[in-house]
Amino acid sequence: MIWHIFQKDCRQVWRLAAIVAFAHMANAALRLVLGPFNQPRGLVTFAELFSVATLLGMCALIVAAVQEDVVPGASQDWLIRPIRRRDLLAAKLLFVVVVAQGPALLADIVHGIVAGLGLGDSVSAALSRSAVMVLVFDMPVLGLAAISSTLVQVMGTVIGIWLAVMVGVFAGILARGGAPPAFANSGIQWMTPAYWSVLACSAAAVIIPLQYFRRATKESRRIVVGAVLLAPVLSVSAWTSAFAVQQQLSPHAPFADSIRLAFAADTSAVSSMPAGTKTRTLLVPLLVSGLPADTVLMNDRAEIHLVASDGATLYRGKTTPTLGYGNDFVVRTTDGGEVRTRQQIVLPEQVYARLRNQSVRMEIDYSLTLLERSGAATIPARDGDQRMAAFGRCRSRIDDDGDEIELGCLRSGPAPTCVSATLESVRGGPRNPTHWSCDPDYSPFQVHLYPAATSRFTTSVDLTDLRETMEPAADRSQLDDALVRIKSYQPAGHFTRRLVVPEIHVLP
C-alpha cells in the first residue's frame, strides 16, 4: 500500500509540488545566469532570496504531504483505517525523497551539466548534496511535521527553535564578555552547523518512528526541546577540544612533524608599534622551518601568555580568528624550507606600559594547519573559458575598471580552501606577484549544501603591480599571450606547537 498512499499524497499536493519543482529549476537557471562571476549584482540579492524561498517551499511541501495524515491527536480518520503504520511512514519517506528532493537533485544535475562541469561530476555532486539534504534538512522537517497538525504550528516551532538557539548562543557570547564562540570564523567553524545537523538528524531519527509507531507526541516534543537545549553546547566548548577533534578527523601528515617555530631575533628585543589610541602591537619575529615545498601554513589560533620575571601573569590572550587580517599570520612558501614571519600581539596600552620596562617570558601555544597543493592549472588571461579538473569550469576576464584579471570558477562540491593566482607570459620571464585568497574551511565533508551542489569562487590578479616594485610581466598589450596560473590548496594536517621564549625585551 506504500505506492497507493504515495500516489494519494502526490494527487493532493501536486500543485505545490509543481511550484517547488519549478522553483528549483528557476534557481538553477538563476545560478547559470549569474555564472562564475556572480553577476549582474542586481540579480544576486534576488537569487539569494529566491534560494531561501525555494527552501521554504520545499519545507512547506514536506509538511503538506506529512500532514495529509496528521499524526498528533485522536480524531484523525486514518487512525481507524486498516493502514499499516510502516506503509504510511514509508510512503511519506518516498514522497520526501522523490517529490521533495528529486527536483532539487535534477536541478543540480542540469545546472552542473549546462555549466560545463561534466555529467559524472554533476551527478555525483548532486547525489551527495541530495543525500545529505535528506538527512539534515528533509528528515528534521518531516519530524517537525509529524509532531504538528498544521503548517502554522510547524512555522511557530521553527521560529521558537531558532529564537531559543539564538538566545543560547548570545548567552554564551555574553558569558564570554562579548567574545564570539571559540571557533567562529575559523577553519573549524564547520563544526557548529555539522553539530546542529547531527543533532537535528538524530532527533528526527528518534521522533519519526516514535510518532508513526507509538504516536507519542508528548515524548517527541520533549526530544525537540532537549535537542534545542543541546544546540548551544558547542558554542561554549573550548578551542583546544574542538581543534583536537579536527586533528582526529584529518589524515596524519608526516611532513608536518618537521615543522618548527622559533623566535627569530638575534637579541631578545621585540619591537612594537601603536595600534589605535588604547592598544599597541608587539611584532614578534618568527622563523618557521621544515616547511615542505608549495605549502601554506595557517595559524588558526595562538594562545599567548606573557609572564613577568616574578612569575606573575602580565597578559593572557589569543589571536583573533580572522585569519590574515588581525594579529595572525599565514605563511606561504613555494620552495619550502625556512620562512620568516611576525606574530603580531595586540596589547592594551596599560599592559604595554608594564611590559616595556622589564624582561618578560613569552609562551605561545599555536594551533596550525598545513595546506598542500591540491591542483594547478593555467587559463588564458583574456576571456579564458575552460574546464579544469581541480577547479571546475573557470572563466577569466578583465574587470570593469580594467586593472585586474578576474577569475571565476564553478566547481562541483565545496570551493578550495586557498587559491593562488599568478599572471605570467607564455614566453616566460618575470611574473606579477601572486595573489592569494583563502577561505579556511576544514570540513571533512566534500559536499556543498547551499544553495546548490556547486560552489563558486573568484579571485583576481592585478594587471599592473601597484606597489611598483617590479615590472609587470604582462601588460595590456601582452594579454593575448598571458596566462593565469592558478593553484589550489587543501588542508593536509592540523597540529599544535608551543613556542617558549624565556626572555624578551619590548622596545618602545
Binding site: 500500500m1 497507493h4 494519494k8 494527487r11 493532493q12 495529509e68 495524515d69 496528521v70 491527536g73 485522536a74 480524531s75 484523525q76 480518520d77 486514518w78 487512525l79 481507524i80 483505517r81 486498516p82 493502514i83 499499516r84
Partner: protein, 301 residues
Amino acid sequence: MLVHADGLWKRFKGVAVLRGLTLAVPEGSTLALVGANGAGKTTTMKVLMNLLEPTAGTATALGVDTRRLSPRELAQIGYVSEHQQLPGRMTVSAYLDYLRPFYPTWDRSLESEIIGQFRLPTNRRIADLSHGMRIKTALACALPFRPRLLLLDEPLTGLDPLVRDEFIDRLKRQAGETTILVSSHELSEIEEVTTHVAFVDRGQVTFQEGLNDLTSRVRRVTLMLAENVPTPAGLRGEWLDVRRSGTVVSFVDTQYSAVDLPAKVAAVFGPVHRIDTEPIALRTIYTSLARAARDQQEASA
C-alpha cells in the same frame, strides 16, 4: 461478545474520565451507550478503537486486545464520530477511491447504494461539505466493507431531522448484519434500532441490559389514591421522578412487577382506587435515571 471492556480506567492530567468501566456487546446486537455529557462515552469509544490507550484495565474488540488492533481487525470495524477529522482537502469520491483498496471486503454496489441514498456530492471537497454531509460521508466510508462491528460516537449530533432519518434508515438496514455500539443523546431516534442499553455515569456502566428487559421493568405508574394521604418521606429507591397532584401520584418504577406492585403501593400509600402502568420510551427512562443519579450526587455532595 464482540466487544468487551473490563475495568477500564482512563485519566487525563490526573482527572479520571473512566473509572473501572465494564461493558460487553453481544454479537449481532445494537447497544446504545447512554449517559450525560462527560460521562465517558466518547472516551470509551476511543479506547475501543485504540485511539486512546487506557490507563488501566483491558478492552477487546473482535477478540483482540484493542491496544493490538491490527489492520486485519480494523478492516472489519467501522467507526463514525462527530469529531472525526476526515481529509478535508479530498473530494468524497477521491477519498472513497483511496479507502477501497484497504478493505478486501469492500462492496462497490453497496457504496453506490449508500451514496445514492445519502445524495452525497461526490465531486465536492469534504471540507466544503456541511456537518450533516460530513457525517454521512463518514458513514458512507464506514459501511461499504460490511463491517462486523460498527462504532458510532454521537453520530446524530447536529444533524437536521431529514438527515437523521436517512442515517437511522441506513442503520436499520445494517442492523443484524453488523454489531453496532452507538452513543447518542438522540435516544428517541436510535431506540428503533437498539437491542441493548448500557447506562454510563461518571466513568462507569451503572447497568446494561436488553432493551426489551429494560422497557419491561421500567414503567410509568399512575396511582389514584383512595385518600389524600401525604407522600411519605423516603419513598422506595426504585421509584423515580415522583410527581403528585392531589390524589394522583405518578412515578417511574425501575423494578416494575405487575404482581408485586399493588402490595408495594399499598404499603406506602394505603388503599388506592386505581393503578395504571404504561411502558415508557428509552429517552424517558434515560432522563429519569439521569435525574435520579444527579439528585443522588447532589445529595451526597
